[in-house]
């Protein structure tokens, strides 16, 4: 069983699937509506939707005839938080390391190079 974040990452790796999610961010839509901007067959779009559903990114509405798809934001929030945290983490830590290295250099000088 692959871990959930890897499944989310894999689902997001495709530009068509990201475009579908971006469309769903504006509100729920039918498969036909979702397929409209793409030069793709219905089954091809359905395949992408299945990947997104398995990743928990898209769910189906209750309307039995229309079956609108809707965005499930929780897994995305997790991914966005992960990446943003990672980037900020290194930026901020490196800045601190600069200052800390200055402190270590100063300490060595004060100790008369007994490092």
């Amino acid at each position: 069983m692959p871990d959930t974040l890897s499944v989310t990452f894999a689902a997001l790796a495709d530009p068509t699937r990201r475009a579908i999610l971006a469309r769903l961010a504006d509100g729920e839509a039918s498969v036909k509506e979702l397929a409209a901007p793409f030069s793709m067959s219905g089954p091809a779009i359905s395949k992408h939707l299945k990947v997104l559903e398995r990743a928990g990114l898209v769910s189906r509405g209750r309307d039995a005839q229309w079956r609108p798809r809707r965005l499930e934001a929780a897994p995305l929030r997790e991914v966005a938080e992960w990446a943003e945290t990672y980037r900020r983490f290194w930026d901020a830590s490196f800045a601190k390391l600069d200052a800390y290295l200055d402190h270590l250099k100063q300490k060595e000088q004060d100790d008369g190079h007994r490092a």
Partner: protein, 162 residues
């Protein structure tokens, strides 16, 4: 050959399908940068992440096969744990370790290399992802900005939800 890098500038690149490489120069000799990186006592002073976070727990066994674990804590009590194993330890040149942010996150293999030039040290951190998909997703969700307009829209939406 490493090109002349200005200290203070963090660079990001993609040397292969599954990798992200972060490069940063420090205005200090290599033995100091290595020391600051490879001791829990030193790590606590700088590896603290964004403002508002501290690093109260550092366990780091710098023998090959030794485990490491770090727990960061935010002012509001939120905690973040990272664990891994140090695979290759070659002072003061190279450190290869695995990294995982909790059991649900993808494990990466991180290679740290320290190169000294004219009293400065260039640190290269190469992060190897389990797949190209994982790497691309990581890049597109914030490590490199402006790559995907569709996703930027999603992020705006998520901010509204938060």
């Amino acid at each position: 050959m490493a090109t002349a890098l200005e200290p203070g500038v963090t660079r990001l690149g993609t040397p292969s399908d599954r990798e992200v490489r972060i490069t940063r120069a420090f205005d200090a000799p290599r033995r100091l940068v290595w020391a600051a990186w490879t001791s829990p006592e030193h790590q606590r002073e700088w590896l603290t992440g964004p403002p508002g976070w501290t690093l109260p727990v550092v366990e780091d066994d710098f023998r090959p096969g030794g485990k490491w674990r770090r727990v960061w804590r935010k002012e509001d009590g939120e905690e973040m744990e990272m664990t891994g194993v140090n695979r290759v330890v070659n002072p003061p040149e190279k450190l290869v370790s695995t990294e995982r942010w909790g059991p649900e996150w993808p494990e990466t293999v991180n290679t740290l290399e320290f190169i000294e030039e004219n009293g400065r040290t260039v640190v290269t951190l190469t992060i190897l992802y389990p797949s190209k998909e994982a790497r691309d997703a990581a890049l597109q969700t914030g490590m490199k900005e402006g790559m995907d307009i569709g996703f930027v829209r999603l992020e705006e939406y998520l901010r509204k939800l938060a």
